[in-house]
Symmetry: C2
Subunit: 332 residues, 2 copies
Amino acid sequence: MTTIADVARHAGVSVATVSHVMNHTRHVEPETAERVRAAITALRYSPNSVARSLRRGETKTIGLLLPDNSNPFFASVARQIEDAGFVSGYTVILCNSDGNAEKEERYLSVLMAKQIDGLIFAGSSDHARVFARLLPSVPAVLLDREIQSVNVDSVLVDHDHGGYLAGKYLVGLGHRTIGVIGGPRDSSSSPARLRGFVRALGEAGIELPPSSIVDSDYHFAGGRLAMEQLMAQAPDITAVFACNDLMAMGAITALRSHGSRVPDDISMVGFDDIPYAVTTWPPLTTIAQPVEKIGTRAVSLLLERLGEPEAPSRREVLAPVLIERESCAARR
Amino acid sequence: MTTIADVARHAGVSVATVSHVMNHTRHVEPETAERVRAAITALRYSPNSVARSLRRGETKTIGLLLPDNSNPFFASVARQIEDAGFVSGYTVILCNSDGNAEKEERYLSVLMAKQIDGLIFAGSSDHARVFARLLPSVPAVLLDREIQSVNVDSVLVDHDHGGYLAGKYLVGLGHRTIGVIGGPRDSSSSPARLRGFVRALGEAGIELPPSSIVDSDYHFAGGRLAMEQLMAQAPDITAVFACNDLMAMGAITALRSHGSRVPDDISMVGFDDIPYAVTTWPPLTTIAQPVEKIGTRAVSLLLERLGEPEAPSRREVLAPVLIERESCAARR
DNA sequence: GGGCCATGACGACGATTGCCGATGTCGCAC
DNA sequence: GTGCGACATCGGCAATCGTCGTCATGGCCC
């Protein structure tokens, strides 16, 4: 590997000069600078970032810790974050924790050792210990999660509002007896979605009996099972709100195998707007999470904090929007 | 940040000793070692990987350059690679190139500057220039791509064989007039899949007229359009082989809106076995790529090469397998 | 001679590691 | 029993990795 010293020798100057022409950090005689640049290209020199990082005390690297990159939602977020980081000269280290507290801790240690400049964290549940020990020592942005701490900003999605949107929409179509397929109780998102949904119904004077709510797990198969159960215990429903798209897709499958037609017999609203929401039949009406914004805002917050480490911590909440496709119809 | 010198001072030993107890790199009096360990935990010391990397000349980092992490196939591969790397102490830097040659080159430069120990590259097309300039200088593994070069291994999927499997299967079900929805001509995978498929048909004495082949783009909407076209120009087909699942899903949608039923009227075989292949109705019969193996084998090859840089380059080919679900039926 | 300009020399940054010195142990010869 | 050298054990010093910022220096002009 060629080093800055090689370049200096080749150009007949000192290493300091080479460094300065590369970084435009002090004036160098144009002629000299030209000679240096020539040497750089001649030797195909590229500065060693490791040495640079050691010297400068910054790595231009951000850690991205999320539950599972093979989950399309996180994959999209990761993609956005990587893109946004790259344009600002940052590189992303990807870590998958499966929401496992121990793994999160191990990854965090590695990332800290690697001297990341910042962290973007999408924990799957609240592991206070992890945060308390490690987070304060590096600027961080939490996704869909909050914590009282300096140095930590949050990007939140207004799940409550999303649920409200879904409720308003179904009520507006004339539905009165509505079923719900909920996500995991211990997630932070599902209860909020449910809350907003219930509120919308409440505003229309509609009450949601416990028998019209079935909890599930955010997965396709879980959604199918939940729908079976829902059909059994609340056979008169004309619409369903599934707390995510995957479960909505599973529910549609269950309905189809029972001969129910969507949206003719039952309307279906999902949540997330994953890319595959358009591949179902009928295409799924859903509440879209602003995936793109989540990623870009997270990076922006992080970079701003790097510029001003002592600024008070911020929380940014992003609004989901209703995407109307073909899985809902007015009540007959 | 606390450094090794702080620990040494705190334990009353030299930095060398601290280093040696951390790395078990020479015998240290148990008593002394214990004192050092105590100091380490007392000060919450964690060695600075950047300094270590500079000194050791290795970063325990591998670069992963792929077209698009939001594509579920690559997302899964990335996940597998990250997992496999982590257990061996490697960390992954994620880069999305969109298959854009210029981006690939920029990323490669950054990765080289960051002194990655190895590279896993899933290029979307052959950018010989990129490779020629940069690849030889770092151990690399190519995914689904080959190139004549030292230091470069490949993990390949036998697309030809996958296509063959699909053909054999449909022929075995009694189909004789079969349509094909192809992927991009300039990809390396689609033509190979097609080739294998045609061979299987040939062995059964079946010929594929040009009118039963429609090329598309590996996307859902493209698949739908292609199916429309296929129905128009080859109305008598009883089965379709789509060169990936997304197009198969689009094709099923097109068929449904024309009142054709899958598999009763038309059988459908996809390729890839993306997670969403089970969410269609009917669940999609498809040729599965060994996603998991691709990732783990890529990491293994890379690590083995790191251990033995001068070994002859290797190519590992992985066999796809037929996953029988419900989108195919015997010809009426 | 003071001030300015362009550049060079040099010491961190934090960890690893080859080399050397100090101390302790043991065996052997007298 | 004593003295001495060979050898093993343990720990410290200092060089090193490649880059960058600070201080120093030499030349030049007014």
